[in-house]
């Protein structure tokens, strides 16, 4: 997003010559929602280059932009490929390409859920602030709007975009207020613009012809990003970008940085709580700022909590003040969307590795994915070998099982989960043997038989292959069960009864339950 914005800014600069086009574009923008992108770009262009002859192009653009968000929020509109201004179209196309090429999905955008509402409210503040040069208040208002919705919500392109587009003005104003140089502001706004445009672009049909320009813009944005040290792609890079941005823009508050980072990271909707950072109101005027802050906070928090971005298995989170520095280390990463997606993927994998670390004993000391995987592989192999060994043991052991033994064994296993049954029951080989004579399905009848010393008929499941026991767990004739109810009660606790019910679950359970309730 940052790069997109940067790109857009550059494009806007390039389009400065085509003031007429922008003018027409601005007028046309009022008509459609997607034109908000154009409005934003036009707005930026005009603002920076004074290319517009309009007395207050910013205001006009904003007003038009403001009006459209409300309309745009209603639904997504196709990008006006036949836009009044080819340059605008190209720019938007480029932005769309940035969105498309990058792994930027609406979900990656974190925006407050009430974008529409905010948009309208922002509109008011925008319009009011339009009269005066962009000021901090505007951003403040916008920021307040945003701050009201701190929850991170996946961006839905159209409604969110409209709001973001609407907030550009605030963002721009804020930047100006904060003394951000125009170039930086352009970059920052571009980031914001790119974000929104990207969001919109995902929903907007971008002409193929625009894609080339977008890619060019991407390169520009990359360049600018590198200048700003804003890495949009990696999640961790976001914090890096944040730090880098802050370094480069001393005047910009942390919020701006967060904003930029959020722009960079908007693609990544980290589920982590964003509680950590709340940008200053000034910085939060734009939705993007909020998103950025949120994502930045998330990133920072993530950095603090997991520190996974750079150190795969490093359990030490960086100190909060080092977040930016920590992030900066990753700034060298590529900023394209592929890297972003890669980073998300890596994060997921790290999560799972941590989970596995808890599962596999003795993995706590091991750090690093490779070693962890080795440990996991060894553990799985050892478990499989244990199963084989135990099955061999079972094969060699004379399994003279009878119903009593079966019941006791089941009882013990259910009672003492994880513990070996050593002295819980009187070991009775006859019981074991007795149990073995019965159909597997008759888990319960075996107990009955034990108590009654009767043999229940094998209800062989005709389809029951040698080992297809699970299907064979059918409730056999329940006659035997009824007889053994009193004895069964003595054998079975609630666990066993429930298990039996479950074991015979394939059959209508009511019969089982009725017998053993």
């Amino acid at each position: 997003m940052e790069k997109d914005q940067v790109f857009m800014g550059e494009e806007l600069n390039r389009a400065a010559a085509a003031q007429a086009g922008w003018n027409s574009c601005s007028s046309g923008m009022e008509m459609e929602t997607d034109e908000l992108n154009c409005v934003g770009s036009c707005f930026l262009n005009r603002k920076w280059h004074n290319s517009m002859d309009q007395s207050d192009p910013f205001e006009s653009a904003l007003s038009s932009m403001v009006c459209s968000p409300a309309a745009s929020n209603a639904g997504s509109t196709n990008f006006p490929a036949s836009g009044d201004n080819t340059m605008m179209t190209d720019l938007i196309g480029k932005l769309g390409n940035i969105c498309n090429t990058g792994d930027i999905s609406p979900q990656s955008f974190i925006k407050p859920p009430n974008n529409n509402n905010n948009c309208s409210s922002n509109t008011s503040c925008y319009t009011s602030s339009l009269d005066s040069p962009p000021k901090l208040n505007l951003s403040m208002m916008g920021g307040n709007q945003i701050l009201k919705h701190p929850s991170l919500v996946p961006v839905s392109a159209d409604p969110g975009f409209a709001e973001r587009a609407a907030r550009y003005s605030c963002f721009n104003g804020l930047n100006a207020q904060l003394g951000v140089t125009e170039a930086e502001f352009v970059q920052l706004t571009r980031v914001s613009t790119n974000q929104s445009i990207m969001v919109t672009g995902s929903q907007v049909h971008v002409p193929d012809s625009n894609k080339n320009t977008l890619q060019n813009g991407n390169s520009c944005s990359h360049k600018r990003n590198s200048r700003l040290s804003r890495c949009s792609s990696p999640e961790n890079g976001d914090s890096k970008d944040e730090s880098s941005i802050s370094e480069q823009i001393p005047g910009v508050g942390s919020s701006i940085k967060a904003q930029n980072d959020a722009n960079a990271r908007k693609r990544k909707s980290m589920p982590r709580g964003k509680a950590k950072e709340t940008p200053s109101p000034a910085a939060a005027d734009a939705k993007i700022a909020e998103e950025n802050d949120e994502s930045t906070a998330k990133r920072s928090k993530q950095q603090n909590d997991s520190a996974k971005a750079e150190n795969k298995e490093n359990p030490k989170p960086p100190e909060p003040p080092k977040d930016y520095i920590h992030v900066r280390a990753r700034r060298g990463q590529a900023t394209d969307s592929h890297s972003l997606a890669e980073r998300v993927r890596r994060e997921k994998i790290s999560e799972r590795m941590k989970f596995l670390q808890d599962l596999v004993p003795g993995c706590n000391k091991v750090t690093g994915k490779a070693l962890m995987l080795d440990e996991i592989i060894n553990y799985v192999q050892s478990l499989q070998r244990q199963v084989e060994f135990l099955s061999m043991k079972l094969a060699t052991v004379n399994p003279r099982m009878n119903a009593n033994t079966e019941a006791l064994l089941s009882k013990d296993m259910f009672r003492s989960r994880g513990s070996l049954p050593h002295s819980h029951y009187p070991m009775d080989s006859s019981v074991l043997a007795f149990g073995l004579r019965y159909q597997p399905q008759q888990g319960l009848p075996m107990n009955n038989v034990i108590s009654n010393d009767t043999q229940i008929q094998f209800s062989m499941n005709p389809a029951n292959a040698a080992l297809h026991k699970t299907q064979g767990l059918q409730l056999p004739p329940v006659d035997g069960i009824t007889d053994a109810n009193p004895q069964i009660g003595s054998f079975w606790d609630d666990d066993l009864q429930s298990i039996v019910q479950m074991g015979f679950g394939q059959n209508p359970p009511q019969s089982c339950q009725s017998k053993h309730s």
Binding site: L373, H422, I499, M502
Partner: protein
């Protein structure tokens, strides 16, 4: 996404209880069908294989189709069954775990470690170990591995209990 490492304690729905029920039934069936008195190595080996398959099958059925690895395992069982329908001995002999011989795995690990860096080799090894792992991406593979480990530990637990039970009963 991730299963909790703790098994469900509710017996009526616990994976462990389901496995116990199934496996005990299978075990009794195997021992019933096979004369225990015969102690020829062949019979013992056959019984061993049947028990091993029964154990894996019981666990796979207890998990049903909730997991990729269990689905892969069940499909493998079913394909083998259908391929060798009528030839139970073949079915039994061919039913085996998906893991290659441990010794081979070890060698493979060492070789791969020296071959090249990265996690690809370990990932491939893990794919070999976990049923159905070949078709999974790393993310899912780790998920499945976690659940597979959990189920394997349950299997080992139950079988060890049974073995101890048998020993104590002697």
């Amino acid at each position: 996404m991730m299963n909790t490492p703790q098994q469900v304690k509710n017996p009526s729905s616990s994976l462990k209880s389901r496995f116990i029920t199934r496996f005990l039934g299978a075990l009794t069936k195997i021992t019933a069908e096979d004369p225990i008195s015969s102690s020829s190595p062949t019979r013992i080996f056959q019984r061993y294989r049947r028990i091993k398959v029964a154990s894996n099958k019981s666990m796979a059925y207890s998990v049903r189709s909730r997991r990729i690895w269990s689905r892969a395992m069940l499909s493998r069982f079913r394909s083998r069954r259908s391929a060798f329908s009528g030839r139970r001995s073949s079915v039994k002999t061919t039913n085996c775990t998906t893991s290659p011989p441990p010794a081979l795995i070890k060698v493979t690990i060492n070789e791969k470690k020296t071959a090249k860096g990265g996690l690809d080799m370990q990932t491939d090894e893990l794919r070999e170990l976990v049923p159905g792992g070949e078709a999974m991406d790393v993310c899912n593979l780790l998920d499945e591995t976690a659940h597979y480990i959990k189920c394997l530990t349950t299997q080992v637990q139950v079988m060890r209990k049974i073995v101890d039970f048998y020993h104590l009963s002697k």
